[in-house]
């Protein structure tokens, strides 16, 4: 009920198929905001804290986790072969 409104966030039905979510582990404080904002329930934190790219097949590349991260840990990584 206290969830902050994020007007700038794209709706989860607007997929960006070109990229994957990549992480900079040194910025990650493992707070879990990323996974909490994931509409399909991917544990994004487990990727982020290890600096791994979110290669979960269920990822709809909505970018909610990138928007939610308060420390700028996550970013788009454009697939090279796309």
């Amino acid at each position: 009920m206290f969830k902050r409104q994020r007007k700038d966030q794209p709706p989860p039905d607007a997929p960006i198929h070109l990229g994957l979510v990549a992480a900079d582990a040194t910025r990650c404080i493992q707070c879990g905001l990323c996974g909490y904002n994931c509409p399909v329930g991917i544990p994004v934190r487990d990727y982020a804290r290890q600096g791994l790219t979110v290669d979960d097949p269920t990822c709809i590349t909505c970018g909610n986790c990138i928007q939610a991260c308060p420390r700028g840990t996550l970013r788009w990584e454009i697939k090279r072969d796309a």
């Binding site: 206290f2 969830k3 404080i29 707070c31 905001l33 909490y36 934190r45 700028g72």
Partner: protein, 451 residues
């Protein structure tokens, strides 16, 4: 081999993970004084602001502990016998070890005046404490926050978010005075006013007053007046938890003294995280670093040395990124103009280039051409060419503070970390932001390409 880790936080957990990677058969026991599994302490700021529910900050599952065969013991260590390699718990249990890591962390410094034990005095400290704080914030009407750092600002934001009439007391007149300059402070203050926060400059409390039920009812101010409130939030720093090593031969200063390999003066006793004061080759001093990434790096280094490797800890460039009142702020390296005057800046003193430091600020360029929306500032601190830079005699950027637009955060971080000769940037320092930004990105790209 029997490893015992006291502390279930960032340093302890990273150490356990690293030990397991290198020693698949060793027994690893983690002693936790708190009832929950490992959680993100910096994440507590987002719990009080209501962005995530409390259980969300728990960063590891029970299965994770089981998969790595980590034995998690809940209990508080009471004493340590380094002769016989035993840790005694408060409840009478005894844990033996071959190698010990002390990662007990730090706790919030309590209110420095009478009334600190009243109901309604709150800290942003543990997960349990934060849950209590949340309950109180939901009922609270008027809150006072004291403390000059980021935790205080996070508390202010959290309380304001819950509709508490929030009053922030500043001893002087600048927000986060060890980090921000005038312009940056004003910028954040504007955001805070916008969120309904009242900032009281040059205001200091001297006592917290309670009612007959021992609940906070007011704060007594220095000028004698009473300021009505029912919440009093304290964020005036942290203190390493050293009770366990008090009556042992383990050497301490402000925290446990450890060498570059995270070893204390006692064989097979290591320390990492907020409770460790680590020898730093650059400055020749033992530095206390209470940042999350440092705790992780220290935990990893301790673990590598515990499994028999020789891995020195190389202190990284200080780095902090945060989001306050919707404003993104990144702080890299040394940005305080006079670190020696400020004790808490000791951790980044090695970046200081003394009197040769030159400061450039761009207070009037908030609304520059490349700024898409809202206010932005950029501040660079330049070090002099006295041979510290990798390029020999070049000028280097030793620190940066980026508020708002974060495009330059990563390029600047690369330039600072690699101590890149910043001479090519000098002609652009007084030009407009757009040009400077372009040159910074260009320089960082050329560095990354050469790497």
């Amino acid at each position: 081999m029997n490893y015992l880790i006291i502390g279930n936080g960032a340093a302890g957990i990273t150490a356990a993970e690293t030990i397991r990677q290198h020693d698949p058969r060793g027994e690893i026991t983690i002693l936790s004084a708190e009832p929950s599994l490992m959680y993100s302490r910096p994440g507590l700021a987002y719990v009080i602001s209501g962005e995530i529910p409390p259980q969300q900050v728990i960063a590891r599952t029970r299965e994770w502990y089981a998969d790595l065969r980590l034995q998690l013991v809940h209990g508080r260590a009471q004493s340590l016998d380094v002769q016989n390699r035993l840790v005694m718990l408060v409840d009478g249990r005894v844990l033996p070890y071959h190698k010990l890591l002390i990662a007990t962390g730090a706790r919030a410094v309590p209110a420095p005046y009478p009334g600190g034990d009243l109901d309604g005095v709150v800290y942003l400290d543990t997960l349990e404490g934060t849950k209590e704080l949340l309950k109180k914030a939901r009922r609270g009407k008027r809150g006072v926050v004291i403390g000059g750092g980021i935790t205080a600002l996070e508390m202010v934001e959290g309380l304001a978010q819950h509709g508490v009439d929030t009053h922030y007391f500043l001893r002087r007149d600048r927000l986060w005075s060890q980090v921000f300059n005038e312009a940056e402070s004003r910028l954040l203050a504007e955001k805070m006013h916008h969120h309904g926060v009242h900032i009281h400059t040059n205001t200091e409390a001297t006592e917290i007053l309670g009612n007959w039920r021992q609940k906070v009812r007011a704060a007594r101010l220095k000028n004698g007046a009473e300021f009505k409130c029912d919440l009093f939030a304290v964020a005036i720093g942290v203190k390493p938890q050293l009770e366990l090593v008090k009556n042992t031969p383990i050497q301490t200063d402000r925290a446990i003294l450890v060498n570059e390999h995270m070893q204390s003066n006692i064989p097979d006793v290591y320390a990492a995280g907020d409770c460790a004061q680590v020898y730093d080759r650059w400055s020749g001093q033992h530095l206390l670093d209470v940042l999350w990434p440092s705790a992780i790096a220290e935990g990893r280094t301790a673990a590598l040395n515990m499994v028999g490797q020789t891995a020195p800890y190389v202190k990284g460039i200080p780095f902090n990124a945060c989001l306050l009142f919707g404003l993104h702020i990144t702080i890299i390296g040394q940005i305080s103009p006079d670190p020696k005057a400020q004790d808490d800046f000791a951790e980044i003193q090695h970046l200081s280039r003394g009197s040769s430091e030159v400061w450039y600020t761009f207070p009037r360029h908030y609304q520059s051409a490349w700024a898409k929306s809202g206010p932005h500032t950029l501040r660079l601190a330049l070090g002099g060419g006295n041979g510290h830079g990798r390029e020999g005699h070049g000028r280097t950027i030793v620190g940066a503070l980026i508020m708002g637009e974060q495009t330059l955060a990563d390029p600047l971080r690369a330039l600072i970390e690699k101590q890149v000769d910043a001479t090519p940037l000098l002609p652009y320092l007084q030009s407009n932001r757009e040009t400077l930004a372009r040159e910074i990105v260009r320089l960082s790209l050329s560095v990354m390409r050469n790497a």
